[in-house]
């Protein structure tokens, strides 16, 4: 079999066929980068019980994206501005100590999301904005890919620089205050990173499903290891796997890509949860690695 015919054969398999299209190749690159960004940050989101705030930042990006789209600005900056505004707004509202944080989040994010929907309904039909609500990973441009790579690099380097402090303020904020380490600064760093990650995730799976990319791989990883660094690695691997499998499913069965990616992640979580439960039954005092 010559080299050319081997290539032709590969192009006809279900593995090779999608790779013949440049939009699929960009799609794979996008889900891998976005997957790693969100999965790694997601470990902190899960361990610090910030799931709700992650979801809120994603939802409140909607009015930002919509306004940027209508006014002809870059969608990225619209989403980022809205995300940062939410993160700071929540901090300000709950910092006044008249409201609990989750209450502040609940009020702010539903309000912002409704504002986005309102602007959409006045502007045009809902159809133009379905990409924002449900993602359009197959429509990513070269500029989007560069942006995703940049954000991935920023998130990984900031996490590497502040790893031990982020870990300590997550496990024991009281002790970090005693040694003069400001837990609120680290929380703000985390919120800014979260806003950046959410902006890229919106492109991949849309506003509504973004928090799945943050939470599902990290939650599955938390069942598999007892070490934060290893948890981040496992979480990233699971995110890559669900991104790739999800895109293949989307290509071969013609289903929505964002939903396929998220459901693959959910399945991986279910497997992790199931095997953990069986192990717990088998060895009463099962110890994580």
């Amino acid at each position: 079999m010559s080299w050319i015919s081997l290539h032709d054969w590969f192009a006809r398999t279900w593995v090779g066929a999608p790779l013949q299209y440049s939009f699929m190749r960009s799609g794979f690159a996008a889900v891998v980068m976005v997957g790693i960004t969100c999965a790694v940050l997601g470990c902190f989101v899960v361990l610090r019980r910030m799931a709700f705030i992650g979801d809120a930042i994603a939802h409140t990006a909607l009015p930002g994206v919509v306004i940027a789209y209508l006014e002809g600005y870059n969608l990225f900056f619209g989403a980022l501005a809205a995300g940062l505004l939410t993160a700071l707004g929540i901090g300000w509202l709950s910092g006044r100590e008249e409201l609990r944080e989750d209450t502040a989040i609940g009020v702010l994010f539903t309000g912002m999301f409704a504002l986005g929907v309102l602007i959409i309904s006045r502007a045009r039909s809902f159809r133009d904005f379905s990409a924002m609500l449900f993602g359009d990973v197959l429509g990513v441009t070269r500029a989007d890919l560069i942006l995703m790579a940049t954000i991935l690099a920023i998130v990984l380097s900031v996490l590497a620089l502040f790893f031990k402090e982020l870990e300590l303020t997550s496990v024991d904020p009281g002790y970090s205050a005693v040694i003069g380490l400001r837990a609120d600064w680290l929380r703000n760093i985390l919120l800014v990173l979260l806003a950046l990650a959410v902006v890229t995730a919106i492109q991949a799976v849309g506003v509504i499903l973004t928090s799945a990319l943050l939470i599902t791989p990290a939650a599955a990883a938390s069942l598999m290891t007892g070490n934060l660094f290893r948890m981040m690695v496992v979480s990233a691997l699971l995110a890559i796997l669900s991104g790739i499998v999800g895109l293949y499913a989307s290509f071969n069965y013609g289903v929505a890509s964002g939903a396929a990616i998220v459901l693959t992640g959910t399945t991986l979580f279910a497997i992790a949860f199931g095997s953990r439960s069986i192990m717990n039954l088998k060895y009463r005092s099962f110890r994580a690695m």
Partner: protein
């Protein structure tokens, strides 16, 4: 001990004289955020360097609150606290605080050894990694509290007593000059009790200042130099205590002078 290149907090390094008390509270009042009345009111307390003090009193008497204020966890709403001659937070590497066990997320994926290692962070500061010396100190401390065999265990798998020894190990690994311990013997097993007692005795022999908040009055006269009663957020018989403190300070001074 080397100081960190990028410390977490600015240190105000006064050079405290020998006479500077380790902990000096003047008319201190502390109020929890959103509370109507202060949990600690007008407490004056002087703890000499190297002494062992027990703060006793019923639940809600303000023992924990006073320790938290001294550790910089709660703001003071009246009066002044000086630690080794600096305002609170000014020399946090010299003060170790043992909080009650419930104030930590025990489900976090972390090993016992790593948690004890976090006691070294105040000497590392931003961007620095733990050195071999730091790891050696952690290993020694784990041995000392007899939890070396638990080093690679997840913190979530520990019993109450083991948790307490782990937290005390972290406080000791910090190599602070003063230890503020909040209920170190609360609901722990007999082994932990004896290990903790022995460790505190040897720390005290090494010249560390130890302040313990406790409602366990068993053995209290033998273990401590002085007992301070708190009730309803106030020092019992503050006036009498103040005089006693002065006398004691003088006594301490003469004792120090007698040491060659």
């Amino acid at each position: 001990m080397k100081s960190p290149r990028f410390p977490y907090a600015r240190h105000h390094h006064g050079t405290p004289g020998r006479q500077t008390p380790a902990l000096d509270c003047q008319n201190v009042s502390v109020r929890y955020p959103r509370a109507d009345r202060p949990a600690v009111q007008n407490v004056t307390l002087k703890v000499e360097t190297g002494s062992r003090i027990a703060l006793i009193g019923a639940n809600g008497a303000g023992k924990s609150t006073l320790l938290k204020a001294a550790a910089g966890l709660l703001p003071v709403c009246g009066g002044d606290i000086h630690v080794h001659g600096s305002p609170v937070g000014g020399c946090c590497h010299r003060v170790a605080f043992l909080a009650q066990r419930g104030e930590l997320d025990w489900r976090f994926p972390m090993t016992v050894r790593k948690l004890v290692l976090t006691g070294r962070y105040v000497h590392l500061g931003w961007f620095s990694r733990a050195s071999n010396d730091d790891h050696r100190i952690v290993d020694e401390t784990l041995e000392r509290l007899q939890i070396a065999d638990l080093a690679s265990r997840r913190i979530g798998e520990l019993s109450g007593g083991q948790q307490q020894r782990t937290l005390l190990a972290r406080a000791i690994a910090q190599e602070a000059d003063m230890l503020l311990l909040d209920e170190p013997l609360n609901a722990v097993d007999a082994k932990t009790r004896s290990v903790v007692r022995a460790v505190l005795r040897s720390l005290s022999a090494a010249g560390k200042t130890i302040v313990v908040a406790t409602h366990d009055t068993h053995d209290i006269e033998v273990e401590f130099d002085r007992v301070v009663h708190l009730s309803g957020g106030q020092c019992d018989g503050a006036r009498r205590r103040l005089d006693e403190a002065r006398e004691e300070a003088q006594e301490q001074q003469t004792r120090l002078e007698r040491i060659p």
